[in-house]
Amino acid sequence: MIRFDNVSKCYETGHEALSNVSFALEDGEMAFLTGHSGAGKSTLMKLIMLMERPTRGHVFVGEQNLAGLDRKQIPYHRRRIGVVFQNHQLLFDRTVFDNVTLPLMICGFSPRDAGRRARAALDKVGLLTKEKMNPIALSTGEQQRVGIARAIVHKPQVLLADEPTGNLDPQLSEEIMRLFLEFNRHGTTVLIASHDMGLIQRMRVRMLSLQQGRLAADG
């Protein structure tokens, strides 16, 4: 589903964020991406999202070489991917429900269809009762779950999460991780960047670890 072919990324400052990274994630597979901050986790995620382009090498998502996509095709590429951010990136000028329907509105779903799907997604993360609230009134854990609902509401093929448990206590982190496991069981390819080693080891899934831009371990 996701394949990196000798990918290197050099920023204009001369800093090499990734060097010669190669790995493949099968359709429906789940993996953790670990490493110290600055090891290149975010860069790797940005390459998959096409927020950055690799300096060398190729990135494939679902057989599609991302180098072949021009600017106009990027939105359609991003619609196949759901992203969960560390700071959840919610909009506080609208309700939880409207936050979750945003990707559906962008994809052109009818409001009724979008509403049904958004409620299903909110139900999955256990926030159905809070759909009419403003996300600012929710706890950090709940906000993160709204972010997850928004990431999965349009049934993406790939789910990316960048430090999704960064601000959460261990118990909440477990809950969030269990959610990701469940989406994975339903066939979504999941890649989670995290440095919470204790948690990752308990989950027993594949682990890709980056060290100064190089893939140091895979397994």
């Binding site: 927020m51 057989e63 106009k72 939105p75 359609y76 590429h77 991003r78 909009l91 945003l102 990707p103």
Partner: protein, 341 residues
Amino acid sequence: MAEQNNRRRGAQRLDPQVKPTVKRTASATSGRKPRQAKALRYDSDNHWQTAKTAFSRLLTTPAATLMTVAVLAIALALPGVLYSGLKNVQQVAASWEGDPRIALYLDLSVDDQQADSISRMLLLRDDLAAVELISRADGLAEFRALSGFGDVLEYLDQNPIPAVITVQPHPMSNDELIELQQQLEMEDGVAEAQLDMAWVQRLNSALEVAKRVVVMLGLLLATAVLLVIGNTVRVSIESRREEILIAKLVGATDSWVRRPFLYTGAWYGFLGGLCGWGLIQLALMLIDTPVRELAGLYNNSFSLLGLGVVDTVLLISFSLLLGLVGAWVAVSRYLRAIEPQ
């Protein structure tokens, strides 16, 4: 049923963005067809929805919106009022311009009988449409009545007013008119022939200058409208920066992001045009009464022309277009700069 079909077809033509340009795997493709058809039909409603949302966004900051609309209205009303004033003056000028007259002042030695025969002779000419004789006595009476110097005449031994024949030539070119005037001046008994046309030419040149000034002012103020709307839309983009970033991250196309701002610009243009029209009508109403009085003094039943339907539609659609263009320029300038990092 028929209406629904039409709508579906229209939406399909409008919306290229649902077309998948990225290969999908089997799991995502399953059940896409009915969903896509629904999405397509939805998109035309979506435009209306976006327009409504853009409008209600304007209402959330009523004071700022009102001020912007007022600036636009004034910028549009100024050339509008001048334009309709010009149109009115042109209308008046056109009614005069059609019949230049030549006044023939006869020699004082010509008596009434001779004057009469001169005017009869002129009637025979086929280049004159009308001939009117004002005898010395009539001229004196008119002078006494209109000038207010009637008493002075009492001290004069004889009538100082010459007989005057006013002739109205058939329509002809200016050169021909001048030639005719010279010809008539050579006639026996005619002391002087005055072509009563120079002021019409002057008026026309003055109108031409005024027209240019109105056009230039109009262009300047249209640019101002463009800039005001562009800047307002830019501020609105800045204030929704976060939303744009997130929308782009979850796969919003440029046109999806651009659309609400285009509607914002269009609304500003429309509202500005509407209020500008109101201002123009108000201004015309306020000067209508004095103009009527003025026209009454000239024994003229002139009434002020307002902006007609065509001009109104032109004004509002032009202003709407300015709004769209201003918003388009602002959005294309600033949208590229907002990319997720």
